[in-house]
């Protein structure tokens, strides 16, 4: 589990729960991944995964409310937790079966759940793969 590593930095972002603001969630994630020396391939995977999980919370048209996103920077991994604060919160967050398949290929660990306060949430972990030339 990544959470056993020391968290070196933590960044929090709260954005309106609409598709146009997911851009900020992606940019923040790729900015942090870049600091961790993730490869371009890994950054692209991370961006797709963030999209997939955020859309699982807000749906393609967005919701009324915010998504609070917490980025925890570990020594060789980025952990992202998103929590929805929605005005109207009826449906459980869920992933389509293809989303599961996709996320399995994109990230090292992920989950969609309700947090301890019953809010819809997701979590993902993306590790940097060791490179052969040591960079």
């Amino acid at each position: 589990m990544v959470t056993q590593d020391e968290v070196r930095d933590e960044i929090r972002l709260a954005v309106p729960a609409t598709p146009e603001f997911l851009r900020l969630a992606r940019v923040t994630a790729s900015g942090l991944a870049s600091r961790l020396q993730f490869s371009y391939d890994e950054v692209e995977d991370l961006r797709l995964a963030i999209d997939e999980l955020c859309f699982a919370l807000i749906g393609s048209r967005g919701r009324s409310g915010t998504v609070d996103i917490n980025y925890a920077v570990h020594s060789d991994a980025l952990e992202v937790v998103g929590v929805g604060n929605f005005d109207d919160d009826q449906t459980d967050p869920m992933l389509a079966s293809f989303s599961e398949q996709i996320l399995t290929a994109l990230v090292d660990d992920y989950a969609v759940y309700r947090d301890e306060r019953g809010r819809p949430a997701f979590r993902l972990v993306k590790r940097r793969q060791p490179t052969t030339d040591g960079s």
Partner: protein, 250 residues
């Protein structure tokens, strides 16, 4: 776009023929005959901060839809019908993309330049480059690279050579991919995503399969299919968006 009476009659005849046969060749001819209309309408939207090339692509998608949906028995001129559809597509383009697409032209250009940098560096290094490496090579800051990648996300529209959803573009695909690749997606995995997957153009189905079932990286797919990694990236992002909205609707 002006046509003389005989050309108009000829096109009318082709629409009737297409309505009956759905022949891909007739469809291509009809699309080609009206590309000028798509270009004309794209130009009318070109002073809004979007590159004309992108708008022409969007307009072409609208034209494809118009050709596919046009009913010649309704007594409406195709050009009238198509103008409506194409303008609708262009408007949706601006509406959906919001401020994300009004990325400065400079970022769009950097994005395109980075596409080449990614290919060159991947080959030189024998692995996917990091963002700092891309920035150093392109002589821009890391922030600019990240911003450009994000700007590129908006630049992911169907090109004219992409088939309409659900259509099999057998010839095109077989010229790009080995028979193994084209046949691969008919394997059992297809069932998992079916029928959502079947709605995507075949090339996107193949890319999804390679990425998510075969576990190839984006750069690996780019190499295998002989297209740029950024194109793979755009197509993946677009396919996933389509699958998401299709899953929601189902």
């Amino acid at each position: 776009m002006t046509l003389d009476a005989s050309q108009r009659d000829e096109l009318r005849r082709k629409f009737v023929e297409f309505a009956e046969t759905r022949s891909p060749r007739t469809r291509d001819e009809l699309i080609e005959a009206h590309l000028g209309l798509a270009e004309y309408l794209a130009r009318r939207f070109s002073n809004r901060g979007e590159p004309l090339d992108d708008l022409t692509q969007v307009a072409s998608v609208g034209l494809l839809k118009a050709v596919d949906r046009f009913d010649p028995t309704r007594g409406v001129e195709f050009s009238t019908y198509a103008t409506h559809t194409i303008v609708g597509e262009l408007k949706r383009h601006f509406r959906d993309k919001g401020w994300a697409v009004r990325a400065p032209r400079r970022m769009q250009e950097l994005y395109l330049r980075l596409g080449r940098t990614v290919s060159t560096l991947s080959q030189e290094l024998g692995r996917s480059p990091t963002i700092p490496e891309l920035a150093a090579d392109a002589q821009v800051s890391e922030e600019e690279v990240l911003e450009a990648l994000e700007a590129g996300q908006a630049y992911r529209f169907a090109s004219l050579d992409a088939p309409s959803p659900g259509e099999d573009d057998g010839d095109t695909i077989s010229s790009q991919l080995g028979a193994e690749d084209a046949g691969m997606i008919d394997a059992e995995h297809r069932v998992v995503l079916s029928p959502l997957l079947a709605q995507l153009p075949k090339r996107e189905q193949v890319i999804l399969h390679l990425r998510f079932f075969e576990g190839l990286t984006q750069s690996g797919i780019a190499e295998r299919l002989g297209i740029s990694q950024m194109h793979v990236s755009r197509l993946l992002a677009r396919s996933l968006a389509q699958l998401r909205s299709a899953a929601e609707g189902s």
